[in-house]
Amino acid sequence: MNERYSRQVLFPGIGKDGQEKIRNKHVLIIGAGALGSGNAEILTRAGVGRLTIVDRDYVEASNLQRQQLYTEEDVAEKLPKAAAAKKRLKAINSDVEINAIIGDATPELLEELAAGVDLMLDATDNFETRMAMNDVSQKYNIPWIYGACVGSYGMSFSIIPGKTPCLNCLLRTIPLQGMTCDTGGIISPAVQMVIAHQTAEALKMLVEDWDAVRQAFVSFDLWRNQYTSMKMSKAKYSGCLSCGEERTYPYLDRENMTKTTVLCGRDTVQIRPATPGEISLERLAGQLSSLGYSVKGNPYLVSVEMGEERMVIFQDGRALIHGTKDLTHAKTIYQRILG
């Protein structure tokens, strides 16, 4: 018995065979923020064979409160999260092959990475990427585990193609103006609770104990002392475009993605959401200003100062990010506020 994994091998749900299976698996984690860094650390410690981590961001001071792989030095060096994560993960377990990808998790990239992956973990901060992961999961028959949190509230759900409902069955459309960590705040116990659920499900799938996989959608609030398990057998939707009989994988289509364009001759990026929706500007302005942002508004738009950039949001969800020409950075700012 390898002494390193002895306590995990002692657990009857894993055992020697399970440990061997974990060792031979490849997991793809989308996002290296709070959920991504925590999930990556646990799977690395558990001795997974290969881990691919995708993230477009770099480490900032405001990440340190909850993103467990990073230190003050990483902030000082402005390291990309994927690179900083890899450095720490190698120090934790040099046997695990870590593949760090610094970039935006576009549908193209997700499809490219899907080959040879046994499981995907959701650690992203927006529904657009989740819906693309969901389509990739169905198209290439790879299970994935949804996880999300805001404030002290969080949720998780295991999605197995052909067996469970998919995220598109549940949501039917991408919710616009959801709560995000930049608008509702976040405490790390909520992050850890989601990670606990995601990694327990991940270990079950990696050791192929499919009967143990949770059938229910879990949501909880650690500050308000709530916990609920929702059975999902009735949630499968036969007309679902991601997992139904006449599936089209709509979220792998460029048409249905957020569009970003640099506006000619100006230090500004325009963002156009995939599905235009009615935003309540009044509510958004109130929310942002009560959070301490400097906000101006009129019946047609809301303008908010965000560090070095200024974002102007229109009623149909379109936005202008002034002060940058970087498309990925602009999209990051947009999704931080609008989810």
């Binding site: 509230y153 949720m155 549940l170 229910a216 609030d221 929702m230």
Partner: protein, 77 residues
């Protein structure tokens, strides 16, 4: 009579963890519309609904004694 539970920011908007109301005979969509107006709840059409701890679609009809929970999906991570 029905017990109606609210999660996350919905609970703050309603001001209570749960309400006791008789809403049997209504569809989930009708109840959402009613509560949305009464408590000024944001974007109720995207909120998931559980009836007796089981996922329920918007057109499901609520029965006497059913316990209803409203669970808003979030995107943080």
């Amino acid at each position: 009579m029905n017990k109606i539970l609210f999660f996350a920011h919905l609970r703050d908007a309603v001001g209570e963890e749960f309400l006791r109301l008789d809403v049997s005979g209504k569809t989930v969509a009708e109840l959402k519309a009613e509560l949305s107006e009464k408590y000024d709840l944001p974007r109720m059409e995207t909120v998931m609904t559980a009836i007796n701890e089981e996922f329920a679609s918007n057109d499901e009809v609520i029965q006497e004694g059913d316990e209803i929970a409203f669970i808003p999906p979030v995107s943080g991570g």
